[in-house]
Structures are given as C-alpha cells and as structure tokens.
C-alpha cells in the first residue's frame, strides 16, 4: 500500500474504496462481528467461499461487521451491480448453494431477503449514494427497504456510521466513506484552538459514563503544563450488558484512530494508548490491524500529511478488571500496576498517566470526532437534545424482541426504543423496567416509559447513561435479585482500596442475599438506604460512589417487591429459589413425559398420558421442566 501524504492520495484511496464498496461485479458481504461469528457467520463464509470456488463464480466475497440487528445474524448482504443491496438474515452454511443459485439468476425465490437498501448513507461527507439508477426492480418492491424495518426506522448513525457497511480491514473503504478527510482538514487547515472550539460547540459529552463535556476536557488538557501529553482511548467496556464499543472497534477501527489523531493534534500530544478489554479478542485484532495499516500509509507516525505533526498509538490489553474503566485505575494499569484508582482532586488532564497531562475519552466519543470535524460542531449540536447533543448508541438487550445495537438521537423517548425499535417484549409478557448505566445505573420502571433518553433525564430518574447498556426486564425479572446481581458484581470487582466500597458493598450484598433467601429482617430496607448514602459519599472513586445506585433505584420504584420478600417471604416474579416452588397443573399436563426426561434429578414421576407430579423434596428448582413444557403445565410460584 502506498503512502497517503496529500489530498490527492486520499482521493485516490477513496476512489479505490468506492469501487470496492459499490463494485461493478457481484459482491457478497458476510457480517462477521463477534455476534455474527457466534451465530455461525464463519461457517456461512466458508461455505460461500468453497461454493464460489467450486463453481468458479465471478463474485467478490468480503467481510463486514455488524449493523446492529444482532438477533437476525448471521447476516449476508448481496450487491448486484445496478440493483438494490439485499440483506439475508439468519443465514446458514446449508443455504449457501441456494443463495448463490438465486444470486446468479438474479431472483429471490428460494430465500427471501430480510430487507433491501436502495442507497447507502455517507454521513461524514453528507448525503447518500444510490446503488442503482431509477426505480427499484419490480420483483424487489415487495421487500421492505431498511428504512421500513422498525428496528432501523428511527435510528441515526454517526458513531456506528460504517459498522456493517465496510470491511473493517479496508482502509480504502473507510476513506471512501469520508474517513481521514477530517484529519486532513484538521492538520492542514485548522488551528488546534479552532478544533477544540468546534468540539466544544458540538456539545459532545463523554459517552463512557460521566458525560463530561469532551471539548472542555480537551481544552483543559491543552492548557495543562507539560511537554509530553497523552491521549487515551478507553476501550475497557466493562458494563455488563453493553457492547457498543466492541462493535465500533470491531467494525470501524479507523474511526477511533482518526478521532484520536485529531484529538492529539488539538491537545498537543504525540503518544496515544488504546486500552481494550481482554474479553474482546476480535476488537484487539481489528484495531491492531488498522493501526499497522495506518502506520504503513503514514497516517500514524512521523510527519502526518507532511505537516510535521507526529503521533502514534499503542494498544494495551486489559486483564479483566471492571474498575479499570475508571480513568485513574486505567492509567495505573497502563503503567503496569494493579488497577487501583486514586483521588481525582487533581485532574488527570493535568496529572494523569505517568503524572503527565492525559486526555481520556471512550471509544464511542472518539468515533464521533471525525464526523464533527467535517460536518461542524453546529451540525452535531443540531441533533439530539439541548444538553445532550448528537446520538447515542445503546445495546438493547434482555427481554426484548429485537435485540441489538441501536443508535438514536439523544432525547428519543424510551417508549420508542422499547416498543418501536425493540419491537416490545417477547412471549407477550409485560414490560417491567429497563436497566441503564450498568452497575452504576438504575432501573427505570414502566411508568416512566415516556422518558426522553438523555444524560440529564436519566439522572433525574435515578439512573444514568453510563456507556449505553439497556437491559429490558419483564415481569419474570425479580428486582431484588437484580439489585443483588449488581451488588455482587461490584463486590467482586471492587479493587479493595477504600473501606466503604470494599467492606460496605459486601455487607450490602450479604443483606440482599438474605432477603432473597427469605431471611430478610424488618429495617433492612432502611439500613440499605442508609448504607448506600454513606458509601456514595465516602468512596474513593466512581465505582464505589455509584455502586449503591441499582439498590436505591430498585427500592425507589419496586419497594413492594422488597417488602414481599422480607415480610411475606415471597418472590413476586418467582425468581428467588428459596422462595419458589414448581408444580404441575393437572388440568394442563398431557403426560407427554418431556419434563420427566429433562429433569436432571429425576424428581418428576407419572405414567404416560397421565398428569405428572413433581416431588418438591427432591426438586432443585433448576427450571428444566418449566422450560421444556410445551403446554404451560409447569407453574412456578
């Protein structure tokens, strides 16, 4: 690959990239993010590859990451020159020959496409490019366009603009989507102060948790005294139930790299670090590949775009510690120490990594930067809500029909996300709550379903944005169990440095454990609240300082469930094992015997075609019978 040193070089690369994105030959793209691979995308890819080779077909087979609708994976996109792009969902290796047959014939008979795309948005450059001229062919008009798919209808993609559309290993394709033009603009035509001003004007707030204003952080770091400064990308996405940063790192690594170079130039830094979770091997691989490529092309290293600006990035793999998402702990880890946070009375923008000025933003924040630079801070500020501009990526998971990653303008009502994008709750069950903000956040109850989702509104509701996890819960979710789950998580992830977090959280866990076990005592709720306040006030870092939030918010909105556990020894959602019992409804049981066979402890007896019985003394409450019964005859109370 040749060096990219001038605008002309960029344009050349962009041309090559566009020819790869919208080629004049047939192209098949397999979505191969972690979720895709886990659903079998590698097998699909291998099958297609073998079949194409065997039939000697003139087809380009390529990889991409994920556009977010993970519940439909493996997804395979087919691009026929001059026709709409077609997406096939839930592909299997078995279906590969049939898919190739119909691709060759130009039909959609054997396998029906999930949706079609008539055009592809180029958000950085502004506008869209159509895949074909004129109207869509008649035989495809019955296939919904991507905009007609409820999951995608209300989405606006800025941070995840390229995910699932480009090959994450292709620099040319990234450039074709407008990539590195922002960097070119910044380095050759903007003063660092002007870049900072534009990011301030955009209103961009940190997407990692706290929501601190990115531009102001950059300014403080720029103004801080010191020859050597660092920019750091926090890719230690530790919130359970959140994976937007994984998707961006896997699907569009150059957007993070470009954002960091721009930030480094604005701040006056020449060294960058990306700290990635150990649990994300594909993200590490794709980032490392992209960094090496950018370096090879001269986009990282010395004299970028021949402007005299030097900058390079190193990847550091985390080693499995949630607390390392906290900036000072992350820096301790980068320095090679245990990830213990320190007090931030002196900010890391002044004294951070190796005591030098350090600017840390998370993956999604960095990925927004190139788009802001080209389109302007004003453009970004025009999207979303007043004090929460732009878009936010959420992982919509749990008890929801359309599971996946969604990017919506800030301020989108929760209701739209749950019911329109998410398609509601599976099995016709009742929506109960949504958990946001990870272990630092809280549970928002059904009655607040109209809440516009932004930094301030979530905080007012007793939760927080966090990094963007949205875990949907239905009436089979016990809120005391959820509070216990988060507290247990934090207990095991506490670094153990300060007393309130190390000792306080485990005592809270003990009490919650007893409540779940039917051993709760009168006064426990008040004690938990009292402890929560002192732990929030007294802890050294944000982990302890927000740890009680899931307990406080579940008490605030679901106090009756706590009371049922404590005074009635009852778990209303039928989750807490000590408080539930399984039985078989004689009227519904057909005596099919499935539950008898599935029971791992053989505590179900009964004759064929006659109602079965559970021996409660032997039952271990594993729920295998409940899961396997096709007649809803197994009940749990």
């Amino acid at each position: 690959m040749s060096k990219i040193k001038t605008l002309d070089d960029l344009n050349q690369a962009g041309k090559r990239g566009l020819a790869a994105l919208i080629p004049s030959r047939i192209k098949i793209m397999v979505g191969m993010a972690t979720s895709g691979i886990a659903s079998g995308a590698q097998e699909v890819y291998n099958a297609l590859e073998a079949e194409i080779k065997e039939r000697n077909l003139d087809i380009i087979l390529s990889r991409t990451a994920s556009m977010g609708m993970d519940c439909m994976e493996p997804l395979v996109d087919v691009l026929l020159p001059g026709k709409p792009r077609l997406a096939y969902s839930k592909m299997t290796a078995k279906k590969a020959p049939a898919l190739l047959d119909q691709v060759a014939k130009g039909t959609i008979e054997a396998i029906k496409p999930f949706y079609r795309m008539d055009e592809e948005e180029f958000i950085v450059l502004g506008g869209a490019k159509r895949y074909f001229k004129g109207a869509a062919p008649a035989y495809l008009r019955g296939i919904p366009t991507i905009q007609e798919i409820p999951f995608y209808k209300k989405q606006v993609k800025i941070a995840t603009r390229n995910c699932g559309l480009i090959d994450p290993e292709s620099l040319d394709e990234y450039i074709a989507k407008g990539g590195y033009f922002s960097l070119y603009k910044a380095l050759t035509g903007m003063k660092p102060e002007a870049i900072v001003a534009d990011v301030i004007a955009s209103g961009l707030r940190g997407r990692g948790g706290g929501g601190f204003r990115t531009g102001l952080k950059w300014k403080s770091c720029r103004d801080a005294e010191g020859e050597i400064k660092y920019v750091i990308c926090n890719g230690d996405e530790g919130d359970p139930g959140a994976y937007m940063d994984r998707s961006v790192m896997e699907g569009d690594p150059h957007s993070v790299i470009e954002g960091m170079i721009i930030g480094a130039f604005a701040i006056g830094s020449h060294e960058g670090y990306i700290y990635v979770r150990n649990e994300y091997p594909l993200a590490v691989k794709n980032l490392a590949f992209a960094i090496a490529k950018a370096r090879k092309c001269g986009l990282l290293g010395k004299n970028i775009f021949e402007t005299g600006f030097d900058f390079d990035i190193k990847i550091s793999k985390g080693a499995g510690a949630f607390v390392c998402g906290e900036s000072t702990a992350l820096m301790a880890s980068l320095e090679g120490a245990a990830g213990e946070p320190r007090a931030k009375y002196i900010h890391t923008v002044e004294h951070g990594l190796w005591d030098r000025p350090s600017n840390l933003n998370n993956v999604e924040t960095w990925a927004n930067v190139p788009a802001i630079l080209t389109r302007g801070g004003k453009w970004f500020a025009g999207i979303g809500a007043k004090n929460s501009t732009g878009t936010k990526v959420f992982s919509l998971v749990g008890k929801i029909n359309n599971i996946g990653l969604v990017e919506v303008p800030m301020g989108t009502p929760l209701k739209d996300i749950v019911y329109e994008i998410g398609g509601g709750i599976p099995g016709g069950r009742k929506f109960k709550a949504v958990q946001t903000g990870g272990p630092s956040g809280g549970c928002i109850p059904e009655k607040l379903i109209d809440l516009p989702v932004d930094f301030d509104e979530l905080r007012k509701a007793g939760s927080m944005m966090g990094s963007g996890g949205m875990i949907i819960m239905d009436d089979r979710t016990c809120m005391v169990d959820i509070a216990h789950y988060f507290i247990e998580f934090l207990e095991s992830e506490s670094c153990g440095k300060c007393v309130p977090c190390r000792e306080g959280i485990r005592r809270m866990k003990d009490i919650l454990e007893e409540i779940c076990a039917g051993k709760g005592q009168a006064g426990d709720i008040e004690l938990l609240q009292e402890m929560s306040k002192a732990i929030i006030d007294g802890s050294l870092c944000a982990l302890g300082g927000s740890a009680p939030n899931p307990v406080l918010s579940t008490i605030q909105y679901f106090r009756d469930e706590y009371e049922a556990h404590i005074s009635e020894k009852r778990c209303p959602a039928a989750v807490c094992k000590a408080l539930i019992a399984y039985s078989i409804d004689k009227k519904k049981c057909t005596g099919c015997g499935v539950c008898r066979k599935k029971c791992p402890v053989k505590c179900i007896t009964g004759e064929k075609k006659k109602p079965h019985v559970i021996d409660r003394k032997k039952c271990i409450k594993c729920g295998a019978c409940y899961e396997s019964c096709k007649f809803d005859a197994v009940t749990v109370k």
């Binding site: 207990e491 007393v499 309130p500 003990d510 426990d524 402890m531 306040k533 007294g538």
Partner: protein, 239 residues
C-alpha cells in the same frame, strides 16, 4: 497562601497543604487511620472525610488529600461526614472485631457495632490501611510485602505468602502497623526475630554486646549506602 473556613473558623494554609494539614495546624481534630508523615496519604480509610462547600455545591472529600483552596468552607463534623465515619467504623468493627484501636475510636465517636454485620474471623486486625506496604516500599526500599487479590479478598503479605527473599527483617512494617496486626517475635535471648514467617539472625553490638539489628538489615544498609559492614557493627546507644 490559601484562605478558607473550617468549622466556621477563618484560617490560612500554605499552598500545597491539604485540608487535614490545615485543620491540624489549627487544632481541629480529624480522625485518620491511613495517613502518616513518613509515607503520606492514601485516601483509603475514608475516616478523615469532610464536607467541602464551594458556592452552592457541597461534596464529601478525603481531607488527607484534598488541597486547601481559597474560598472553600469546610465542615469537619456535618451530618453527612459523620454518617460516613460511622459506617466506616461499623465496617471496620465487623472486619476486625479484635482491634482495640478500632474499638477505642468507635467508643470515642459513640459508634455501636451494626448487628446486621456478621463479624469476620479471618481478617485478624488488618484494616488494609496500607501503611506497612508503603513503608516497606518508600522508606525501607525493599518492597518485601504487597497486596494480593482484590476487593474483600485483598490481603497484605509476602509474595505467595512464603518467606520473602528480599525482606531484611527490619520490622518497620510491624512498628508502623496501627492495629498490631503484623506480628514480630523475638527470642528471649534476642538472638533472632521472626516476621512474615521468616526468622532473622540478630547481630550483636561490638561495644555493648547486645543484639541490636538483623544481620540482613545491616548487610542491606551496607550495600545500599555503600558503607562497609564493619562500620555498622555498633548499636545506636554505643555510637
């Protein structure tokens, strides 16, 4: 100089001083467990928290680390402050029920054990104040002890909880330990001492003939300070 208010009293503090420094300078008592002149502050015990008000904002901070700033108003005994200290002491009472120091502090502040916290039996008197680890690293310079694991499992000790090859038996960790958790045993004759499971032979003073320091410690001083071992053969009283 930073001018500010503590408990209604106008005071001045030198630049770089912490709120704790300034308070002590002015005779205001703030309890602490993990701060020490020799090794500085860790912000770990959280007993020294105070409430800092600046305009409309009030926050709880660790006074041992928080810099004395112009115009702040510090309350060292507000309700929020006392709630944190109360919880910290209740938690430490449950962790180290055998610690006289914690019992005394709790009694002074009128804090009773929380009956919902079951007392630990496996933590000894270690409150994880980190003084020993910091002393071994910063003052002694050997880093023979450190932490292992994290969260509630965090403990202080030698690597693998085995005899440390770099420990010099100086006993500084035991001297600085505020609760007496670290045990150092000396034989009746004084010819050896045992700490962290390892026994150290003591050297005798050339003059008075008494055992005065572990041989390993003298060798260590000789090596790091570049002083011949013979020059270290006399105890402090005879020097």
């Amino acid at each position: 100089m930073a001018k500010f208010i503590i408990d209604g009293k106008k005071i001045e503090a030198e630049n770089g001083a912490t709120v704790l420094d300034a308070a002590r300078e002015n005779g205001i008592e703030i309890p602490t467990l993990c701060t020490h002149d020799e090794v500085g502050s860790a912000g770990a015990c959280r007993l020294c928290v105070v409430e800092v008000k600046q305009g409309n904002r009030a926050k709880i901070v660790a006074s041992c680390l928080y810099p004395a700033e112009d115009g702040i108003a510090v309350d060292t005994k507000s309700e929020r402050v006392m709630a944190v200290r109360r919880l910290v002491l209740q938690l430490l009472l449950a962790r180290c029920p055998g610690s006289g120091l914690i019992q005394d502090l709790a009694e002074q502040m009128g804090v009773k054990p929380e009956p919902r916290f079951t007392a630990d039996t496996d933590k000894g008197k270690c409150i994880l104040c980190r003084l020993c680890v910091r002393t071994c690293e910063q003052v002694v310079g050997v880093s023979a002890i450190g932490f292992s694991f994290r969260g509630a499992d965090k403990t202080v000790g030698t690597p693998f909880h085995e005899n440390s090859q770099v420990c010099i038996g100086c006993g500084a960790c035991a001297y600085i330990c505020p609760t007496g958790h670290i045990e150092m045993e000396t034989t009746k004759t004084g010819d050896s001492r045992t700490i962290w499971g390892r026994t150290f032979k003591m050297a005798t003073c050339k003059v008075c003939g008494r055992y005065f320091a572990p041989e390993d410690q003298l060798k260590y001083i000789s090596r790091t300070a570049g002083v011949p071992l013979e020059n270290l053969a006399v105890c402090i009283s005879c020097r």
